[in-house]
Symmetry: D2
Subunit: 465 residues, 4 copies
């Protein structure tokens, strides 16, 4: 008797608990301080899924439409917890689906937690965020397209050159054409590339009526540095042009976050986009569009034609609930510590081979080690050798290669600038990289560097002197 009462109490308390978890997440929209156990997260997802019409068993469910969330394969069913309806409705990515209340709530909560994560990491003036189930390139494209109605005659997007295809192509996908502006060396003494504000100003001055937006970038391979968002944003405001920031993996970098926060707070950013996989360690497939103004985001959400996958939202939700704020902070802090470890290790390595790590202060994710005196072929062979040894992501960048993308020519493709250089080697330390990987990396570098490249200790001595 007494036992039954206790059981009832436990049952009731548990039900209330999940309801409270749901209620709290929806109301406060904040990531829990301490991460939740996986079992709880699964329970929560299952409960949400149970609210969708295809998973309900409280009423007879009769699907008499053309899309009823039926899943044929039990394997696929499992891999989705039965969440079949996706997010959004025909007209808007954030609209609720009456058939899919659980999916709608899941999506809503994830958007809130994504916003909370961005603010918590330092871009505290952000006002709205939305997980879109397309990767960064497509998300940039959506932003650009959604602004078309504001300047129907506009034909161009100013592209502050970064040699990565997706973001360049996103301009065409949105139906625009690029005006490319090369990066320039920051100062005489730094190796970093930065925004050519003079060139930008000229372009805006001349073509402002036909330019829908400037597309700037924060995170990039060294020696590219984050663009000067504030100065760019000021110009954009002055000339009545939108400012879109490609913050692909910049959330993990304090420099990028600070610049976005500062420019955003001043009203100089219309939207910034970041990858969920690169910043939150989930599979490729989603990104977060964020704005400093609720209405701005709504216009973009409303631009999306139709429903879309819930998976990126779900994965991010799981990851944020598991991490909690404490865990999130920890992986971000670890990246910074490990980056320093990598930098020191690379400086040491560079010295052994008579080279140097470029001075690119504002880039705290990617490093560039000069390969002065190496032929292009030697550089390429070295890169290939590293890959065959299991090193992914490290690449050598010889100078002088040109590439044409959609009719536009990029001199020195891979270097983010037409300026000639002597070739270099890029390595990055992104979140998730471990110190053990860094150790192995250094080991492989040393083993695969050709013998002749090492300078004798005499030479080294001389150099130092």
């Amino acid at each position: 008797m007494n036992e039954m009462k206790t059981e009832q109490e436990v049952t009731d308390r548990t039900v209330r608990c999940f309801s409270r978890l749901e209620a709290v997440l929806r109301r406060d929209g904040t990531i829990p301080e301490i991460g939740l156990p996986l079992q709880v997260i699964e329970g929560f997802l299952t409960r949400l899924a149970g609210l969708d019409s295809n998973n309900r068993f409280d009423t007879v469910c009769i699907g008499a439409g053309e899309r009823e969330g039926r899943i044929l394969s039990p394997l696929v069913q499992q891999l989705h917890y039965g969440l079949a309806h996706g997010i959004g409705r025909s007209g808007n990515l954030t609209e609720r689906q009456p058939k899919a209340i659980g999916s709608s709530i899941l999506s809503e909560i994830t958007n809130k937690l994504a916003l909370d994560a961005i603010r918590y990491l330092g871009i505290s003036s952000t006002k709205a965020a939305m997980v879109v189930p397309v990767a960064t390139g497509m998300a940039l494209s959506l932003c650009l397209g959604s602004w078309r109605y504001t300047k129907p005659r506009a034909k161009f997007v100013v592209f502050l050159r970064i040699d990565q295809k997706s973001c360049f192509k996103s301009i065409f996908t949105a139906g625009f054409e690029p005006i490319i502006i090369d990066g320039i060396p920051e100062t005489m003494i730094s190796d970093g590339l930065t925004t050519d504000l003079t060139a930008l100003k000229i372009v805006l001055e001349e073509q402002k009526g036909e330019i829908i937006a400037v597309l700037s970038t924060t995170s990039c391979f060294a020696p590219r540095q984050p663009d000067n968002l504030i100065a760019i944003g000021e110009l954009c405001t002055k000339y009545g042009v939108k400012h879109l920031v490609n913050n692909a993996y910049g959330l993990q970098s304090p420099e990028c976050r600070n610049q976005i926060e500062e420019a955003g707070r001043a009203g100089y950013i219309d939207a910034f986009v970041q990858s969920t996989d690169k910043n939150f360690l989930v599979p490729v497939g989603g990104s977060i569009i964020a704005t400093f103004n609720v209405k701005s985001l709504d216009i973009i959400a409303n631009f999306y034609p139709g429903r879309a996958s819930i998976v990126p939202s779900r994965d991010l939700l799981i990851t944020l609930l598991q991490l909690g704020k404490v865990g999130l902070k920890e992986i971000y802090n670890t990246q910074q510590i490990n980056f320093e470890i990598l930098r020191v290790a690379m400086q040491e390595y560079a010295k052994m081979i008579g080279q140097k790590v470029m001075e690119v202060k504002m880039n705290q994710i990617s490093l560039a080690i000069t390969l002065k005196g190496w032929t292009d072929q030697q550089q390429n062979a070295f890169g290939a050798q590293l890959f065959s040894r299991g090193v992914t992501g490290a690449r050598t960048v010889p100078s002088g290669l040109s590439k044409t993308i959609d009719g536009y020519e990029f001199l020195n493709f891979g270097s983010h600038s037409s300026r000639r250089h002597d070739g270099y080697l890029n390595v990055a330390c992104a979140i998730g990289m471990t110190t053990r990987e860094i150790e192995e990396l250094v080991k492989v570098f040393k083993e695969e560097t050709p013998k002749w490249a090492f300078i004798s200790s005499n030479d080294a001595h001389n150099k130092e002197v």
Copy 2:
């Protein structure tokens, strides 16, 4: 000793088997005749996943880039079999990823099986197909956008009216504007709506230089019928305009398939797009773009800016391997049989309430039952009542409602035509619907129909006479 030998044999045979499965699927690109057991499918996916760099354990793996397929949450890891790299590369959705060989193979195989499925179902002239990890609306948009370079001055897409937001909005997403052409009654005696070819011809004649494409539709709610693809395609060819077919859930309808095959074989279709969830019972998030020409598809694949989720490809692969050709045929046949059952049941019901099922011969998925004599309010109340009883997808369509989408007004929104009517009730029988659902549906209809609506048996008799 002997036992060990047998074990070795079994092991070797199993390894060879999976290799052979992979080899056969890649080479022949055909769905197996008989479906595979789930366990085998899982084994196959795990094996593919094991080829991606983030899952390999044969070499030390050192991730020194900004995106290394690391997955933080073991739960997310599980839900993806560790497939973290997505599909495609920066520049092209079908390009291989050196880091992600397994994911690349998976995507390649799925595209082949998707093509095989489409051909097997009757559109045998199809030459290429690609699963894109966006739903139908976005996929239509991708097609339209990818054609821009062929007629840089084009501004318009001709929209053969269907009252579904996604496909209408896809035009804007691609950066174009719509020219809307209303449907017209097919004949004096049929209730079906069909393409207004006269209007289309006039539009093309006048504006062909500014029109990139005509967007036609096959599957739709009755009384809308599939557009006349052949006649449309002929006009398109004549006037140098692309023809894009929205075949959302039309794969399951012989009428739609036949028309596409006929028009496609004649060279009258540039691409046709179908939903993976509606045609293959997987969760929302993907679609298949198919063409009658390999090169055409490549141009679209190449237009996509960046990587994308592998999930829709994976889900479709699982489902097709599980079904096999036999199973696939079976669910499609069942739909046709059940549609007839539903039609007969609805005719009977209609008679009981003094109404009729509209005569829309070419639409074998959706039915429309007239609600003549019902006020708008009565129709709406009936629709709401059905939803509260667990019936999803059935909807009442009173006449006279107007709606403005992105600045364009639709008279009689929901009816696919401005023409006034007396209101009706739509129900569909899509794949996956069971006879039990049909029975329940009829039961609920009868219970929820207001008493007054039923005609006395005398009246019924008179009507018949």
Copy 3:
């Protein structure tokens, strides 16, 4: 506003639904008529798991004991839905665990559904059933051991010979020794083996004071037939000896079920044991002990020393909820139909090779085809060949092989009787076997039978005449 209300309603209804499902299952203890969707079953399991202390997150949970249900590996966690505490307490398999309310409820419900399944299948006088997480052999052993206290001086169990090691060994595991009684031919005209009641009577008469129980068997390979449970039970009652029935896979056979029901209703059975894997298609690891008297079962439950795995209960619960009564009936009916198909096919095959299918009317799962005139070596080679062709479970039984198990010699091991015979081939049609497998089986039989064994059509004709 209104939307929020609807959502709350759906949420509340869903919560109530799961609570109601739990309540109904506990109260009525009956398998649902129609099976539940997998998603609902998963949701239900997750909810139950959420009641266990290790999965709760409503209070701070502090584990200060030596066994706190912690699971280290997230993979293991997933594979168990976090159900870590097993079932039972130190003293009794059916006792509740205050720390593990969900696990306790799961176990309780499964026991009720197992009872319901047994009754529903025809043994309607059964009064209690319990899933034990050990296979049939160990379960028989538990029953025997739990009865020791009733006759402390007893040393023997009468074993009505069946040539299967587990059930024979279960006698030793319980601390007893066997008295073996061979089967005898049923009648002059039948090939079936049945109980030697005369011998049994003599043994009981002479040693009743030292005999704890008679262990009889229902399901077995032909030509063994179910023991004569009623006659055995009558003798047991008369001589004050327990009667334990090994019903390993007999639930699927109407003959076995009828005999158990009849004997049990008359009070002639103390317990009967069946495999969960063989009767309900779950992985090996569990069995069901059932009795015609609640108290009898409790004594056995109380005999189990300590906790035990919850997995067999969980798997059976999932399977029964998925099947529903309708589905359960269906797989059992299919077995009977397929058995007839197999029998006819084997008769045809036997005729082709001049042999016959033995007449064993009461065995409707297993068949024996004579191999008269084949040498032992020919029989063995044929058996090996079948296995190498992927046929499992079919075996040839030459005569004359002896085997010693734990000091006891079995003449003609494999034949359930010392009586010499000419060798035969056993095949079974158990639940889950498909007609396609039967077809393939016949095909392989024909291909692998040595040429010489086929009789010419002349011979066949002669034989028939």
Copy 4:
């Protein structure tokens, strides 16, 4: 071309890798130094499962027996990776199954890794280990039963009292009766209870012919200490009686491990049994039987009647592969560190309430805090209060409670000795407990301790003086 070659290489390498992993694990039988990623472990399990007949798709598989590993529910299939055949054969738990090669290999590897784990943790003279899919109580019972044939007239097991029902009941399950010997205080100055060797000697002297074994215990709640295994073993050897050690959760305690190693090496232990859940953080359901002699274990394996679940083996395999030796060491080291933290915290707490932590040096898992001056009712109320606050495993043990189990009376049940005491509170720090739990535990203790129990600081001061 080149790309295809690379792919083939990666595929081949991966296949070889898994084969090598399997080969290495089988040959060396050692846990990898560094744990494997979950994805690799899953891949490995799936590969093994693919070798079982029910999962193979290389040949047509025709199941013509009564147990063919068919799994009905796809959910159950998933939760078992399709491993359906269990382990062992009718006669022996370690025998291979021709139908289930993958399951057999899995079981074999797990047994080797279990042995490696035990040795690695310090009991390095262990020669054989086997995971049995029953919890500790049943496993003890199996050992006892398997020895019966060595002394057919034996009726008794000497039970060195520990107040835990399972191990006591295991004696009856094996068909024996207990002779109970109470623990005695270790020394005048220690609070610990230890083995009464004098009493044991007398019992053995008098009844050795009827005694099959002595059942001793290592891990237990304080103030019980591990039995004196060496002295006990010496007596056992002298009197020709087996020595069975209940090492339930003792693997995690250096004291227990040392004693087992020392006694085992000297030939004084016939088998020792430990729980998989308590020592390796998997769900309840398995244990490991280990011996110092390969043949001894084989006899026990051979005693098991029939097949059994593979799940406990699988879970342990996953966990050990995930942990690696480094991870295993780490969780064991953490336990020791946390135990010290708990001890200090409890000493402090005890002082605040004028009590003390009992001096039980040899028990480094469980602590006992005196509750001198508390009435039984006050003790019970306190215990109940702790439970309701989410503290599990902590319990108060008032003196004077008696309990009868299977006809045997235990004075002072719960205290492991009939000796009266003043009541105490037990808490344990087992592996997996976190420092956060310890902090919360102390907090709850302080909050729930009745006000009157706290001594004023004056009192405290006086006491200290």
